[in-house]
């Protein structure tokens, strides 16, 4: 009754509090290299499983993987223990303190603490333990917080990111059984939902919100996979309301990258990671957030190097068009960034586009795990492109691939509206001496032809700092480039003609000439290709 009351109060608070939640659409493409955060997501350690590499892999995760990858944190989404105590049928009839002792010993001997390691319960941690007493007495977060759910933030040049670990395990303390739901009637009860809402509300100013739980949100299509049977709608509604970007989970012992949008306005990245400790292939995921863009790579424990392209974002995440991915401009120096992790030396990192020639990348000086390259996309037509980043290290060669969309930049037009020839005329003397531009179309040989172009954009506004290229044709020809246009949009080019010698020989040939605009360049504009011309005569 009290729990329902608390939930109602929380929901009412949510309704009456203006929500400025995380924004999954806030990812942006930038050359900034200081806005990259990454973490490890692992799941299903199953400590105590007969014949598995559970303890080896957990030890590896919190020692070598932690040291080499140097993640912001590690989140482990449940089934920390197997609840079988090694019985070779694999029938979970625990909990067993010996499994928890083994789990704790591995973590403590590697200096793991609650500021860095976020372990949440799964169904194997809940059998016969309705109130999660074993989890609370033995897990890192359970011991530190006295709760079965965790909430933490990371703040940096990127702002604040909010992370939430939820307890999706059964709340009845049922034993495992051979029949559905296998002692795992998974879900979120009122107190669990209340915590989730309270934390999302408290961190509503975070730029992004990422959530982790043990179970999938919905039916996976495999009848042996349990999922959220209660509390799902309320939870999805909260994720939607607070703009969550990602839901990461385990439980199924397979890895996948999908997108979940059921009853959501936009949806969340829906990342499933295979078991680290039980069943092959013993995988883990590195997830990065680069300028608010999320990327991830899943790899088998102990296999190096790990390569993860963080920018640009993958447009084809999970096989569908990623609604949160940005497009890439057809610019001359587009940044490509990738994280490369390896205990051995990294000898080369390079990228290529659509299987073309490899181009070099260099390590970022203050972030040696981050590599960057410059991609000239200026000549590419609009469309999808495949980017590969390949790292060569002392451990081997590995490639990560993303798909990105190059979008032609639509720049405002600029052109020359008036083109005039003339010369500067000085009149007066002393203090009254003035020089003015006098439009004329007939010049004597040896005079300087001044060509004035007025540069305006498509709306008729004058454009300063534009440069005009001109071609003079006639009895002789010459190409000219103006200086930058002034505040009135006037760009000026000069052609100094040559007078004949004393014998009347040589000099610029007399005759009719035409000067024509051949290009206009101005930052942030594109030439409208109009080519006005004006004629003049050399006598």
């Amino acid at each position: 009754m009290m729990r329902r009351f608390i939930l109602c109060i929380t929901l009412l608070l949510c309704l009456y509090t203006p929500v400025s939640a995380g924004n999954p659409h806030s990812a942006y493409y930038s050359s900034d290299t200081d806005k990259v955060l990454w973490f490890i997501h692992a799941s299903d350690i199953h400590m105590g499983t007969s014949g598995s590499t559970d303890s080896t892999n957990l030890g590896w995760l919190v020692s070598q993987a932690k040291n080499v990858i140097n993640p912001s944190f590690i989140v482990v989404t449940g089934d920390l223990t197997d609840s079988t105590n090694g019985n070779f049928l694999g029938y979970p009839n625990g909990p067993y303190q010996t499994e928890w002792d083994q789990y704790k010993n591995i973590l403590s001997s590697n200096g793991v603490d609650a500021s860095f390691y976020f372990d949440i319960p799964g169904n194997h941690d809940a059998y016969n333990d309705q109130y999660f007493n074993y989890y609370l007495a033995n897990s890192v977060q359970g011991q530190a917080t006295g709760r079965t759910q965790a909430s933490w933030i990371r703040t940096g040049p990127w702002g604040t990111y909010h992370f939430l670990g939820i307890n999706s395990a059964d709340n009845t303390g049922d034993s495992f059984t051979l029949f559905w739901p296998y002692g795992d009637y998974a879900g979120l009860d009122t107190s669990e939902l209340s915590f989730i809402n309270t934390e999302m509300l408290a961190q509503r100013d975070a730029s992004l919100t990422l959530v982790f739980g043990h179970h999938p949100l919905a039916d996976t299509g495999n009848s042996s996979d349990t999922y959220l049977y209660y509390g799902k709608d309320e939870f999805v509604q909260s994720m939607n309301q607070y703009g969550a970007s990602l839901y990461g989970y385990g439980h199924t012992h397979v890895s996948s990258e999908q997108y979940f949008s059921e009853n959501m306005t936009d949806g969340v990245f829906y990342f499933n990671v295979a078991a680290l400790g039980k069943d092959s292939p013993n995988q883990f995921t590195v997830t990065a957030i680069d300028c608010n863009g999320i990327s991830s790579v899943t790899q088998t424990a102990g296999a190096w190097p790990v390569v993860l392209i963080t920018a640009p974002m993958n447009r084809r995440l999970g096989g569908v068009v990623n609604p949160y991915a940005y497009t890439v401009p057809n610019a001359a120096s587009n940044p490509i960034r990738a994280l490369v992790f390896d205990p051995a030396a990294v000898t080369q990192v390079q990228f290529r586009v659509n299987g073309g020639a490899w181009q070099p990348m260099a390590s970022v000086s203050d972030n040696p795990r981050l590599w960057q390259g410059a991609w000239n996309a200026s000549a590419l037509p609009e469309g999808e492109y495949t980017l590969d980043v390949q790292a060569t290290t002392g451990s081997g060669v590995r490639t990560d691939t993303v798909t990105t969309y190059v979008k032609s930049q639509v720049l405002p037009m600029v052109g020359v509206t008036t083109l005039t020839t003339g010369k500067y005329v000085t009149s007066g003397s002393g203090k009254n001496k003035t020089t003015t531009f006098s439009p004329i179309s007939t010049f004597k040989r040896g005079e300087t032809v001044v060509i004035r172009a007025t540069v305006k954009d498509s709306l008729g506004a004058v454009v300063a700092n534009a440069t005009v290229q001109l071609a003079v044709s006639g009895a002789s020809s010459v190409d000219l480039t103006s200086g930058p246009s002034n505040a009135s949009g006037i760009a000026e080019a000069k052609w100094t003609t040559t007078a004949p010698n004393k014998r009347g020989q040589g000099g610029t040939p007399p005759g009719s000439y035409t000067v024509t605009v051949t290009n206009v360049t101005a930052t942030g504009y594109q030439w409208d290709t109009s080519a006005p011309s004006v004629s003049f005569t050399i006598q």
């Binding site: 070779f88 049928l89 029938y91 009839n93 333990d129 007495a137 059984t177 051979l178």
Partner: protein, 176 residues
């Protein structure tokens, strides 16, 4: 006046007695499963079991856990003494025995559960687990085969076949 006071006192005493009875003798009123005293003892057994199982599981408190397990066993035995067909009490007793590594006792109680509730497939698997601990692998396989006779559920049958294969593989390894 004196008689009135006495009646009031009497009513107070009756009400207090009923309240105390309700508070301290809950077995007959609010227990699930077994009825009457058997249910009451089963519930008390579970309370002790959980205290040992949950609160005192860390090694430093093993003695306290053992004491609670002992008390739990007493209560479950009292429950089955009062109602020998009380399946839940047999199942709970089997579980405490198993946790205490009294696999002989666990096997006996799980066997009884399979007799009382032949459709409880998990009891057969737990029986098999206890028999495996006792190295009585043939009997473990037989228990799992017996379970297969109790269900048409293909997923359960698959799981049982997997278990049987694992026991046979273990048996073959033992022979080698």
């Amino acid at each position: 006046m004196t008689g009135l006071v006495s009646r009031k006192r009497l009513l107070t005493v009756v009400a207090a007695t009923l309240t105390l009875a309700f508070l301290f003798l809950p077995g007959a009123f609010c227990q699930d499963g077994g009825a009457g005293e058997a249910g009451y003892h089963n519930q008390r057994g579970m309370d002790y079991f959980k205290r040992g199982f949950y609160d005192h599981a860390p090694k430093s408190q093993a003695t306290e856990a053992e004491r609670n397990y002992g008390l739990a066993i007493q209560e479950f035995k009292a429950a089955v003494a009062r109602d020998p067909s009380y399946t839940e009490a047999h199942r709970n007793l089997a579980r405490v025995y198993y946790v205490q590594k009294n696999f002989d006792g666990a096997a006996g109680e799980y066997k009884r559960v399979t007799e009382l509730a032949p459709g409880d497939l998990d009891a057969y698997v737990n029986l098999a687990l206890a028999l495996i601990e006792l190295k009585r692998l043939d009997e473990a396989i037989q228990a799992l085969e017996n379970a297969k006779q109790q269900t048409p559920d293909t997923r359960a049958l698959d799981a049982l076949d997997t278990y049987i294969s694992k026991v046979r593989a273990h048996q073959a390894k033992e022979v080698k």
